[in-house]
């Protein structure tokens, strides 16, 4: 038996797997079920201040190689998030009657820097274990220009805004920035965010955007025409990005992208991830896949003499 517990920015997780944002994250019941299935933690679907409609269907589909989505960050806004957190439970160790089954990461998204600050103020009241600042969704570029995460100065600016607000509120909630792989310099962007007070990172968001065309109608299938690529095809990109960020900043990373198996998760940790974000895996292995991935990680560690899974972090040679 390997000790699978890890600490990320001071928050303890039973195992390194966390549900990535955007998958099974609409309701508290769904998040709880993912924990029951074996996830060490969960991330909400990205929360906006106000209602955000998202794109029409088709919004997602996959093949054995990749998955493509353009949901468009649909969300009912902060009021719905309040209900979700109340149903998910109070922080562990709070002594409250209804305690959350595992740490929850609140993913937040906004169209302007000022809105990120406003939203941070609201989200802090819900006491998430970690705040994930989503500046890298590739599906909303028509509305807001290129994602903040694709511009070093803008990424740093948003980080500074959220840091400033957290400091003003004297909040100790760790802040991670979710980065985009669709840049030539993810390590440098991470460094710029680290300099502005990011506590860690989540990488990567989806790759692309990409497009799939139906041959008979000659039309792109996604209603948004383009969407973010995830799944097995993007794992090498994710592993490289995580390693770049780890080397450049030394800060903890939620390594996300194409992880389907325990060995994939081990690889992500070797690259520098402390936690492993898992989303598209659900398409291939269902929610129950979380428990299987954890078992596979445990088996790999046992076979390879790893007593504490944390030893793997950044152990790439």
């Amino acid at each position: 038996m390997t000790n699978l517990k890890v600490k990320f920015c001071g928050v303890e997780f039973e195992n390194p797997t966390v549900l990535a944002s955007g998958v099974l994250g609409v309701t508290a019941s769904s998040l709880k079920r993912v924990v029951e299935m074996g996830a060490g933690g969960v991330t909400t679907k990205s929360i906006w201040m106000e209602e955000h409609p998202g794109h029409k269907n088709p919004t997602m589909f996959g093949t054995e190689h990749f998955f493509l989505n353009a949901v468009g960050l649909s969300d009912a806004g902060i009021e719905k998030a309040k209900g979700l957190f109340a149903e998910y439970g109070e922080p562990q160790g709070s002594g409250a009657e209804k305690v959350r089954p595992a740490p929850v990461i609140a993913s937040i998204v906004a169209g302007k820097q000022s809105e990120f600050a406003e939203l941070t103020e609201e989200i802090v009241k819900l006491q998430p274990d970690i705040i994930e600042v989503n500046i890298s969704c590739p599906n909303i570029e028509d509305e807001f220009g290129i994602p903040f995460a694709c511009d070093l100065l803008k990424a740093a600016d948003v980080t500074k805004c959220v840091r400033h607000k957290l400091d003003e509120l004297e909040s100790k909630i760790p802040m991670v920035v979710k980065l985009s792989p669709n840049v030539p310099n993810i390590g440098r962007i991470a460094k710029a965010c680290a300099d502005e007070g990011a506590d860690g990172f989540c990488a990567i968001n989806t790759v692309g955007p990409g497009m799939v065309i139906d041959l008979k109608t000659r039309k792109p299938i996604l209603a948004n025409r383009v969407g973010g690529v995830s799944g097995p095809a993007i794992k090498p990109i994710a592993v490289k990005a995580v390693n770049d960020i780890h080397k450049m900043t030394g800060l903890p990373v939620i390594g996300t992208g194409g992880v389907l198996t325990g060995e994939d998760a081990v690889e992500m940790m070797m690259a520098g991830a402390t936690l492993v974000g898992i989303g598209t895996m659900v398409y291939y292995r269902e929610a129950a896949g979380f428990g299987e991935v954890v078992k596979e990680m445990d088996a790999w560690c046992n076979e390879n003499g790893v007593k504490n899974v944390g030893e793997l972090v950044g152990s790439i040679k």
Binding site: V23, L24, G25, V26, T27, S29, S30, L31, K32, R33, V34, E36, K45, E51, H52, P53, G54, K56, N57, P58, T59, M60, F61, G62, T63, E64, V71, S74, D75, A76, G77, K80, G83, E87, V212, D214, K216, T217, K219, I221, A223, P232, L260, T261, T280, V282, Y283, Y284, R285, E286, A287
Partner: protein, 278 residues
Amino acid sequence: MDVKNFNTIPETLPIKKIVKETDTIWTFMFDYELGSKPGQFVMLWIPDVDEKPFSIAYDDGKEFWLTIAKVGEATEELFKLKEGDLVGLRGPFGTGYSWSKCEHLVLLAGGYGAAPLYGLARAAAVDGCKVDFVVGARSADLLLYEDRVGELSSEFDGAVKYCAATDDGSKGHKGYNTEVLEEILASKEGEDVKQIYACGPEMMMKKAAEIARDKGIKSELALERYMKCGFGVCGQCCLDDSGVCVCKDGTVFDGERALGFSEFGKYHRDSVGRKVEW
């Protein structure tokens, strides 16, 4: 891990035939080897418009039908299409109904629910089951599939029995179809009913499941929730408080299990995940 057969890119195919059931309910027929079970659904892509889930009314392995009501923007556009126009298809998805050979079954349809239950009635009749098919609607002109169920009855020598219930009494029993169910179960012929199936408005299905539970009879219900992916990823159709997905773990659920879902008969969620009371 086996990652084959994970292609959910919609396949485009032409509408073979359109049959008008009523002014606002049409059946779209396709030549396609869908290979679905009764109670399953497909995601239908209307290019440039939207993609929505629809239950399958009929599938003989070579041809399948979708009976669709014009209820919103997407179906408004769908009803503008003609035979030969292309639409996209993903699926079949969902669990489907279960039954055993040579049993007595009662099928309870509310409104459009008659279409998916028709597929079940046919398959069960092939398996030697005796089927009471009870369809409820506001008035006689909204009763669906009466002729087709009548044909089933002739084809299977009376094994399928059609019964209507209308709110205004313009055809069959005046009142709810659940009242007809109670009559059947109270009668001598109803003593051997093994399973009850309901498809339609949630309150009707809840009543049906309660009647079944009180009589100690198994029931199956087809739940409906807002869906995006259809394969258990987006989380839009997850039920409180179990967290199971209607699209993947359902849409057909055991009636007693459904009665245990805290949101069942109380609320559902809209496209952005907000609770909406029934």
